[in-house]
Amino acid sequence: MLVGTADAAALFKERAVEMTRIDTDAEMLEDVVVLQVLCEIESSEECAMLPPGLHPSLPPLVNWQAWSVPASPWGPFTLATTRIECRSGLRPRGLLTGAFSNSAAAAEALRERWGYSVRVAEVALERRYDEVRCSVALPGPDDEILDIGLRDPVPLGMTDVQYVASLHAANTERGLRLVQCDPRIEPERAERGQPIIDHFDAGAWGEERIAPFYPVSASVVTAQVTLPRLRFVCRPGEMAFTGTEHV
């Protein structure tokens, strides 16, 4: 079977965050707009982008998510993430390669409590009548690193959009671990539309080998999102059956 071939320490050298504690409490966020865009990526590097504890999906996908959070303990914020869809044991997961938020306070909380490798940037999630757009730009001219979205939304059922749990590389007191973070997203409104992928600077998102080529889907929901208590961490060099640890 296909398994990741990357050296975990080298792969996560730049991406792993420092987490002094992994026993955080849950936080509930209301009225969050969640945009999710999925795109098939070239498969030649599918195993090289994953550590040995993970397996690629067939075909490999990149998963972009953007959250617009109107209120939180850290104030309003917008978050954008890039993940590679994969498998940990039998379960679908998304391996985070990079994240950006427009709020330093939110970025700090997400990093320290849930292991998001998140930096501050200009992040926007805007909704128009027929389009939802997410853009991310670093400081400086012409430094846009993401421009994705959804066109012509049509209604879906509240349970029609599936979200996979996230895996975040973190240096913990146990060593380098993949922290499993599975936010519960409970939509009150859900729509699907044509995916738009106008710009993606893979290198800026921590994995320059992500090469999108076939847009799959785009959805947007308004939801209650619960950032969870962390339950599991995984040793990235081992298969999930032996490498999973309880928090």
Binding site: L58, E85, R87
Partner: protein, 377 residues
């Protein structure tokens, strides 16, 4: 109780041409032995692009080869993917009828709409449309097979009047089935008079509830043809060995590996939000590992036919009591078991397990599964 073999043709990596040859020809040898031992049916799936998991992209060719090498065993063409980008209904009807002629009327014809984005996306099919295409597909097949000339004006496809040839050998036509993964599809099957070809794992209680609902609903069906194929089949794994411990070790290796291959597929719902796919399909019962308790040994899951003959008899008695008519077995996964192990498992099953169940009489072997009368062994 009727027993079948379910061929996925999974291939170990590296995916060499030689290994594909070995897998295909090992499966044909298993089909020949199944015929000799008195198994009732072999099913060959249709999958595309599912590297490692299933290389059975042309089941009609596999089944043609099997038909030429066997005498009595039924040939489950299934399930044929009823998505217009993948199979045109006319071609599916022609192939099914031709195989029925070649085999002297031994075809059981399964239908399915594919559950993975890997396949639907590969053919650029619309996941929202697959259910209605399937519904139209199963309504036109009997007409193509039985009417001298056939025409159709539908929502998904149309054709002017033509003779779809050849006609099947069986009168009036091969029995129709639909694969059942998502809960509720068994009721779709029952409403149309189709057999329910279960291909996802379910607990005893869940299967009992669904089987009862199916048998009840089919009593009032509006059948798509003259055949009401009142049959419930479920998928299982088979590894039978005299020593329970050995059976558990080797059988669970197979089951666990199949589960891993299955988990790597990109199911439609994960990639493409749609009302048309309400649940994730999963062929593999849990038991290949437990992330909640990494140190726990993998136990044989409930209802799985892995074990010594006595254990397997007990498991099948339970399925029988629930009302399941057919058990179809996966015999291997990516050649985790060697061919001798597989063949010996089949022989032991036929020798020690089959006689414990009412079985079709000799004169009924080869008839459509729903017409076979069973007598105690």
């Amino acid at each position: 109780m009727k027993f079948g073999i379910f061929f996925e043709l999974s291939v170990p990596r590296p995916l060499t041409r030689e290994m594909e040859y070995t897998v295909i020809h090992n499966a044909l040898e298993q089909a020949r032995l199944a015929d000799e031992l008195g198994f009732d049916v072999i099913w060959a799936v249709e999958h595309h692009f599912l590297e490692g998991y299933s290389h059975c992209s042309a089941p009609e060719l596999f089944l043609t080869a099997a038909a030429m090498q066997t005498e009595k065993i039924r040939l489950g063409h299934g399930a044929v993917v009823t998505v217009k980008e993948i199979n045109h209904p006319i071609r599916a009807a022609e192939r099914g009828a031709f195989l029925d002629q070649l085999s002297g009327g031994r075809v059981e014809f399964g239908t399915a709409r594919s559950s993975t984005w890997t396949e639907l996306g590969g053919f650029q099919a619309d996941p929202d449309a697959t259910k209605k295409e399937w519904d139209e597909f199963v309504r036109v097949l009997p007409g193509m097979w039985t009417q001298e000339r056939f025409s159709w004006e539908g929502n998904c496809f149309s054709m002017p009047e033509r003779a779809v040839l050849p006609k099947p050998y069986q009168e009036p036509h091969p029995p129709l089935w639909v694969t059942v993964t998502s809960p509720g599809t068994e009721l779709d099957a029952a409403a149309r008079g189709l057999g329910a070809l279960g291909v996802a794992s379910a607990s005893y209680d869940e299967q009992e509830r669904r089987t009862k609902a199916y048998h009840q609903a089919i009593q009032n069906c509006d059948p798509v043809s003259d055949i009401v194929n009142d049959q419930v089949a479920t998928l299982n794994f088979l590894y039978c060995h005299e020593k329970l411990e050995r059976a558990a070790t080797r059988g669970m290796n197979m089951l666990g590996y199949f589960g891993m291959l299955n988990s790597h597929l990109l199911f439609t719902r994960e990639a493409y939000p749609t009302r048309a796919y309400q649940s994730l399909a999963n062929l593999a019962p849990s038991g290949g590992g437990n992330a909640d308790d990494p140190g726990a040994a993998a136990a044989i899951p409930q209802g799985v036919c892995i074990g010594d003959p006595q254990r397997i008899i007990e498991v099948i008695k339970r399925w029988e009591s629930i009302g399941v008519d057919n058990l179809n077995f996966l015999l291997n996964a990516a050649e985790i078991l060697n061919q001798d192990e597989v063949l010996e498992s089949m022989r032991l099953f036929a020798r020690e397990v089959m006689p414990a169940f009412p079985r079709p009489t000799a004169e009924h072997r080869g008839l459509p599964l729903h017409q076979q009368t069973e007598v105690s062994g």
